[in-house]
Symmetry: C2
Subunit: 126 residues, 2 copies
């Protein structure tokens, strides 16, 4: 088996990282990782990403308390996408307060909300 190391060389040092709830299988969010974020994630056991808008390492949940504890890490066949199986603290991954960032769903031509709102962002990000 090849080394368990993402290929950060393809897209400017960043690879997509998907976070999935380890218990329910719900896909919670997608963010980006650079080599430092990947290393910090493995080292601390909590998801770290690279914030493209802020241009720096981002400890998910550092402000909200909604950290993601790593149960397992998967790599895809091309080693250019990471899948994190996580335990989502606080019950919500989305900064808008929804359990999943993927809370809007189109099915049979109808759009609906498919993931519950767990917190009020105004109360969390003061």
């Amino acid at each position: 088996m090849t080394a368990f190391v993402p290929d950060f060389g393809k897209a400017g040092g960043l690879v997509p990282a998907i976070a999935q709830d380890a218990d329910t299988g719900e896909v919670l969010m997608m963010a980006w990782m650079n080599a430092e974020a990947f290393e910090m994630t493995l080292k601390t056991g909590e998801a770290h990403y690279f914030s493209r808008s802020r241009g720096r390492l981002w400890h998910k949940g550092g402000t909200s308390g909604h950290t993601q504890h790593i149960r397992a890490v998967r790599l895809d066949c091309d080693s250019d996408t990471i899948l994190l199986l996580v335990e989502q603290r606080g019950g919500a991954a989305c900064h808008e307060g929804y359990r999943s960032c993927f809370y809007r769903e189109m099915k049979d031509g109808e759009v609906s909300i498919c993931s519950p709102k767990v917190f009020d962002p105004k109360e969390v990000y003061k």
Copy 2:
């Protein structure tokens, strides 16, 4: 609710699209979509991506027969990542023959194969 349209303007016209097995919740793969791929996916009910290596529209399963039939489409809060809930024909998403492209897993410091090999690529891609 805002329009159910991905924001293709952020990253050169491409957004990440995650395919998840609608029945089991297993994350199968991540690929890229441009506006045309998204439209074709909705229109045909089968996943279409944009192949960055080939520089053109890619009907997933067009060669292997392992098409992905769309049950639902989700958009994340920033409208810059797509999640497809699919029925994976042929039982495998990965061109290497594994059920999921994310077949390598690191857990408790050990790396193992976490998704079964369903077909032999040499038999499918002749």
